[in-house]
């Protein structure tokens, strides 16, 4: 499954990315800190963490869509030889939707209610290419069929409210792949959908991966989902990568206490549901971080030395974690 290191060069290489919230010119909070991440050619890389861990912000920074007052303060993101963070707004707009596309979260609200599906799916092509309207329409129909939407000719003329949630996510997926991008950011693409539809969308993404040249950055809080799909997984906590490993290793050999707690909090079929593990406390606020381990307030193994900066420690191969505990 994994092709790490097999093909020449990474599609995306993020190094030391820090994103901060600024107010009146000063930094008031750290949202993402020192994140490094690689995505190889045709690889699916998972980025997981709970809500508020900074995973979506990190992804948005790549395509220049950070909200007001939130800025990249350090780091590089090399994408096909250029650093995305040095590009002008106009230059990044040319990449956005073409070379890097997004499958958005919350499919039920991600399509414009007043425009027909076909027009919305074809919009990246009409923005980024000189193709004629009828040529785009043909491509749209082809991709709608590819994401297994029945009767695409009829469906393309319909409006989002005539689509089910799963169908809307399929249309959004068709939109993301239609420009044949090098990188697709799938931002929690299954959150708004029910479980059976989630499985269908995941199967669809697997199919698409096999049929395209694209790499995927798959953002999710669902560890189970990510582990079946991804070649490599990064676990993020409070803006930092705390562990990364090959897909299966995260589940079978978790190293960081946070990853263990995350796996422990997944309910299991044959266990008493009353003993469901939860991670006590809340994710730390971006305004309260110091240089020590950001998880230590909630960690059951915490000691005094956790207040020191924690470097990444290797556990063989590409498996690393940001904790002394396995030394």
């Amino acid at each position: 499954m994994s092709i790490i290191g097999s093909t020449g060069g990474d599609v995306l290489e993020i190094n030391g990315l820090s994103i901060e919230l600024t107010g009146r010119g000063k930094t008031v909070g750290s949202i993402v800190h020192d994140v490094s991440l690689r995505i190889g050619h045709r690889e699916i890389v998972g980025l997981i963490g709970e809500s508020g861990s900074g995973k979506t912000i990190a992804a948005k920074s790549l395509i220049g869509l950070l909200p007001n007052r939130i800025r990249v303060t350090e780091g590089t993101a090399m994408f096909r030889g250029t650093d995305l963070f040095t590009l002008s707004p106009k230059a990044i707009r040319k990449i956005r939707g073409k070379a890097i596309s997004v499958i958005p979260q919350d499919a039920l609200h991600a399509l414009n209610p007043v425009h027909r599906i076909g027009r919305q799916v074809g919009e990246p092509l009409s923005i980024h290419t000189d193709r004629s309207g009828s040529a785009i329409r043909e491509i749209v129909l082809e991709y709608l069929a590819k994401v297994k939407i029945d009767n695409p000719r009829l469906r393309a003329r319909q409006y989002p409210h005539q689509f089910s949630g799963g169908m809307q996510q399929r249309a959004l997926t068709a939109m993301a792949v239609s420009t044949e991008p090098s990188l697709i950011i799938a931002d929690e693409p299954t959150t708004a959908l029910d479980v059976t539809i989630q499985a269908q969308i995941i199967a669809l993404l697997k199919d698409l991966r096999d049929g395209t040249e694209a790499s995927f950055l798959f953002i999710s809080h669902d560890l189970g989902l990510v582990s079946t799909l991804c070649d490599r997984i990064y676990v993020m906590y409070a803006g930092e990568i705390v562990e990364s490993a090959q897909g299966a290793d995260i589940f079978s050999k978790p190293r960081h206490p946070y990853t263990r707690a995350l796996i422990g909090s997944v309910p299991r079929l044959h266990e008493n549901p009353d003993t469901l593990q939860i991670i006590a406390g809340q994710i730390a606020s971006p305004f309260e971080h110091d240089s020590g381990c950001r998880f230590r307030a909630r960690c059951s193994f915490a000691e005094d030395r956790c207040a020191n900066p924690q470097p990444m420690r290797s556990h063989g191969g590409i498996h690393v974690s940001r904790c002394w505990i396995e030394d």
Binding site: K98, V102, P104, H109, N112, V114, P124, Y159, H161
Partner: protein, 316 residues
């Protein structure tokens, strides 16, 4: 869509009936009597009685209403108390004048609101927004007759670009007609735009925070097309509904401005009707204005429905 229009038209009829009843009662309970206004305050009781009997004013209000409504449906609004002229033809003659003024003023108001409101909404909490919001407050708080006087002073007396008032039918001279209509429609439209600019701004701000805007941005769309193609049409749906309500207020302003600019429309007829307690004139003019407002509301509602594909389907 056709069914939708039919349903709307069906609810339209009772609305008109109720509106006409309210209007009829209101006109009759206004202090001061038609007879005193027509005959003067020194009229003898016998003369007053004769006048009231002659015009049927001594009968119960319900009977008066039924008779009036029965004739009005057929376009007969009776005779003026003052000069025994048939009211119907007079109203008919003046209707296009008022329609033109109200229409042009509404275009000014909506045009200003959509452009300035969208601009302010897009630059939310930045300089253009602050400027436009202040301007909108100013627009909304200025009385229309005061603005009209100011415009006349500046553009007619000082610069001499436009006439101070009067009316030329468009069938006679279109250019002269439009020149005469520019100042009154600006005075009316600008004042109405105050509220509408704010509504458009708020509406656009709300749409811009919608999730589908982010989807559109992630396609690499330019800011201009983002607003024009994705935000504006969604923002127009609530905006149109409010603008229909605002149109009612705008038409109210017509009454005053027709007098200021000496425009022979329905509005000046209302004024004459009130001053003379000339019930047939007042009723006819007010009823026509009510109809203009109701029809506009209907049209705007249908337009809003056409813009929003969800409503077209849901109601069909």
């Amino acid at each position: 869509m056709i069914r939708l229009i039919l349903i709307r038209l069906l609810t339209f009829v009772p609305t008109v009936i109720v509106a006409s009843m309210v209007l009829f009662v209101a006109v009759n309970v206004v202090p001061g009597s038609a007879s005193k206004a027509a005959l003067g305050i020194y009229a003898t009781p016998q003369a007053v009685k004769r006048f009231e009997h002659q015009h049927g004013l001594d009968r119960p209000l319900v009977i008066q209403y039924v008779e009036w409504a029965g004739k009005a449906v057929r376009g007969n609004f009776g005779m003026s108390f003052q000069n025994a002229v048939a009211v119907g033809p007079e109203v008919k003659k003046r209707l296009p004048v008022t329609l033109q003024l109200a229409g042009m003023a509404f275009l000014v108001a909506v045009g200003l609101a959509i452009s300035l409101g969208a601009l302010a909404g897009f630059y939310h909490q930045r300089l253009p927004d602050v400027c436009i919001t202040s301007i909108a407050t100013l627009f909304g708080s200025v009385p229309n007759f005061w603005l009209a006087t100011l415009l006349i002073y500046l553009f007619s007396l000082h610069l001499g670009w436009l006439p101070t008032g009067g009316y030329v039918p468009y069938s006679e001279d279109l250019v002269a007609n439009l020149r005469g209509m520019i100042l009154p429609s600006i005075a009316l439209g600008v004042v109405s735009s105050g509220l509408l600019i704010r509504i458009m701004r708020t509406s656009l701000i709300e749409v811009m925070s919608a999730h589908f805007i982010e989807t559109a941005q992630s396609k690499g769309i330019s800011n201009f097309n983002l607003v024009i193609r994705h935000a504006l049409r969604n923002a127009l749906i609530p905006f149109l509904t409010v603008s229909a309500v605002e149109f009612g207020f705008l038409v109210g302003g017509v009454v005053i401005l027709e007098d200021v600019f000496r425009i022979p429309g329905i509005g000046s007829l209302v004024l004459v009707g009130i001053i003379n307690r000339d019930y047939p004139v007042l009723l006819a003019a007010a009823m026509v204005i009510t109809m203009i407002v109701l029809v506009t509301n209907l049209l705007v509602d249908l337009l809003a429905t056409m813009i929003d594909p969800r409503q077209v389907r849901a109601r069909n």
